[in-house]
């Protein structure tokens, strides 16, 4: 099913027209309402009238996370506080928190976006959906919550924290849909296992997973363990929260809500557009937001766009898997390493649990990469040689995928942290020195 056929299936020419007219309106709006953008445009000798269609977007200034921090808390707002009806904020663990403000109209756009997400995953009014993202300043919980209500399904605001209770709710309430992070979905399957609850006995049918990059292997694992179909939902707080892009039944790239959020892929170094389909940094412009509209926000996510028609009938461009972030891409001994590469190797090997921790350090002048993994219980052995062989097998595969040698460290069961939020999978000790 498609939530909004009119917008999700419009011809690409028609959509281009819509994007062009929305961009003109947006630029005029921020020029007159956001001093940050007016100053930037004036410094570039750029007037709103210079923006004639969507292709002119390349003339516009960029926005970075640092800009949001520098203008903390309300400096990026275009609407006056009397028109803002909700605020969300990041936790600020990596610096000053960033704040986003929504007008009533922005919330309506967000709900529409989430309704498309859930419908594309096969969700409908009769579904009962548990939202296991954090409720609070984080956009995940409330964002999904009101989207589910808007589309008419039943929402259960489970939030994070008590996983055993979550599993009981899944069972007792006949929950059919799940909105959580991929790593938390896996964690829930472990909790079910401990509680002796067979996922096959539950009503679960689909999961909208987001908040962190995940791999095809991880999807296979989640679908198998939880007996459901798992769909990606891409989003980030600065743009709106969850609901920027979403997978359909094809599970082959996430359709971008590009009538509201316009995506570009740029070379992270030159900031010039890459040829269509090539990999680069995703940059997003919010075409319709009024509370805190952003021009060309640099997501730091490294990915690509697929313009090929999708068999599902939707015409909006598809976002391919996130390969990593341009800022957490690790450069180890001069080689670019994405944690997702390590993840795909580990998830491909049934001998290991799907959780890992990367520790990057510098010993003398040489960078070192340590990969910590847990052996699955059925693969432990009383023989040293068997365990050492497991370790070597993983180490050899990592070497062939990463082109650098990684030290594999086998750790005891459950010693790698499972989190409800974005899991912390990389510790780079080099920065501390």
């Amino acid at each position: 099913m498609i939530w909004n056929e009119n917008k999700e299936c419009m011809s690409r020419d028609e959509r281009r027209e819509l994007q062009s007219s929305r961009l003109r309106k947006l630029v005029d709006y921020v020029y007159h309402n956001t001093p940050f953008y007016r100053n930037k445009m004036q410094a570039m000798n750029l007037l709103p009238s210079d923006i004639k269609d969507i292709d002119d977007i390349v003339k516009l200034p960029f926005t970075t996370k640092q800009d949001l921090r520098d203008t903390y808390p309300y400096g990026m707002f275009a609407a006056p506080i009397r028109d803002i009806v909700r605020l969300h904020a990041s936790t600020g663990t990596t610096g000053k928190p960033t704040v986003v403000g929504y007008t009533r109209q922005d919330l309506a756009v967000w709900q529409e976006a989430i309704a498309r997400v859930i419908t594309a995953a096969g969700g409908a009014r009769q579904d009962i959906i548990s939202v296991g993202y954090g409720y609070g300043l984080f956009t995940g919980g409330l964002g999904f919550h009101y989207g589910v209500e808007h589309m008419g399904a039943t929402v259960i605001p489970t939030s994070t924290g008590n996983s055993e209770k979550h599993v009981r709710l899944l069972r007792d309430f006949g929950i059919t849909g799940l909105a959580v992070t991929p790593s938390y979905a896996l964690y829930l399957s472990e909790v079910m296992d401990k509680m002796g609850i067979d996922p096959a006995s539950l009503q679960l049918r689909f999961a909208n997973l987001g908040g962190e990059p995940w791999s095809p292997q991880m999807r296979k694992d989640i679908e198998q363990k939880l007996h459901l179909k798992a769909y990606n939902c891409y989003g980030l707080s600065e743009i709106v929260g969850p609901g920027v892009a979403y997978e359909c039944e094809e599970q082959n790239g996430s359709h971008f809500n590009e009538d509201h959020f316009y995506p570009e892929i740029l070379c992270p170094d030159t900031l010039q557009p890459v040829p269509a389909g090539d990999t680069g940094e995703l940059v997003i412009t919010t075409l319709t937001k009024t509370g805190m509209p952003l021009l060309r926000y640099r997501t730091k996510d490294i990915t690509s766009l697929d313009y090929a028609p999708c068999p599902c009938g939707r015409t909006n461009v598809r976002l391919n898997a996130i390969l990593g972030r341009s800022d957490d891409m690790l450069i180890i001994r001069g080689i670019n390493v994405y944690p997702s590469q390590v993840e795909s190797v580990i998830l491909d090997m049934p001998e290991f649990e799907p959780h890992y921790l990367l520790i990057v350090d510098r010993v003398g002048i040489l960078d070192s990469l340590e990969v910590q993994v847990e052996v699955r219980s059925e693969y432990y052995s009383d023989e040293l040689s068997t365990i050492l062989a497991l370790k070597k097998k993983l180490s050899d595969r990592l070497k062939s995928v990463l082109s650098i040698k990684a030290a594999v460290k086998l750790v005891e069961p459950n010693s790698i942290e499972r989190t409800a939020g974005k899991s912390k999978r990389v510790i780079d000790k080099r920065e501390l020195k």
Partner: protein, 140 residues
């Protein structure tokens, strides 16, 4: 006749200070007595192998405490505690192409007890019985 095969418990342990103590404390709390144990270690992890009186109780207690536990079958030979006895047994096994993956021993007065994990268990039992070896099994 007693069961010739002994259930051995193996625990995967990271080389962390106090980790062996965690194992022994768990067993003590559950009133489980260790009959023999050995440890095979590398720089970062170790495999602790235990023979206990109550295998199922120990397995459950250790698994519940979060340890990675595996069960495997080993043999315990009882032989005279003097020079050359074990050498004779091992030589005989080796001649008959049965190899020892690992072993550990403890002697007690007149007798020595040797736990072995052979490459081929049933063949090993057969050979040892031919030699008139006695086996020990103190498990419940």
């Amino acid at each position: 006749m007693t069961n010739l095969k002994i259930q051995q418990i193996s625990i995967f342990l990271e080389n962390i200070e106090g980790r062996i103590n965690d194992v022994t404390a768990t067993l003590a709390k559950n009133q489980i007595n260790m009959l023999a144990f050995s440890m095979a270690e590398t720089a970062e992890f170790a495999i602790l192998r235990l023979i206990v009186d109550d295998v199922e109780g120990a397995r459950k207690a250790l698994a519940d405490a979060g340890f990675a536990v595996t069960l495997s079958e080993v043999l315990c030979i009882q032989c005279a505690n003097h020079a050359g006895t074990l050498a004779k047994i091992i030589a005989y096994l080796s001649e008959n192409k049965v190899y020892i993956k690992y072993m550990y021993a403890f002697s007690q007065g007149e007798l020595a007890n040797v736990v072995i994990k052979p490459s081929d268990r049933s063949r090993c039992i057969e050979l040892l019985q031919k030699m008139d070896c006695s086996f020990l099994n103190l498990q419940k």
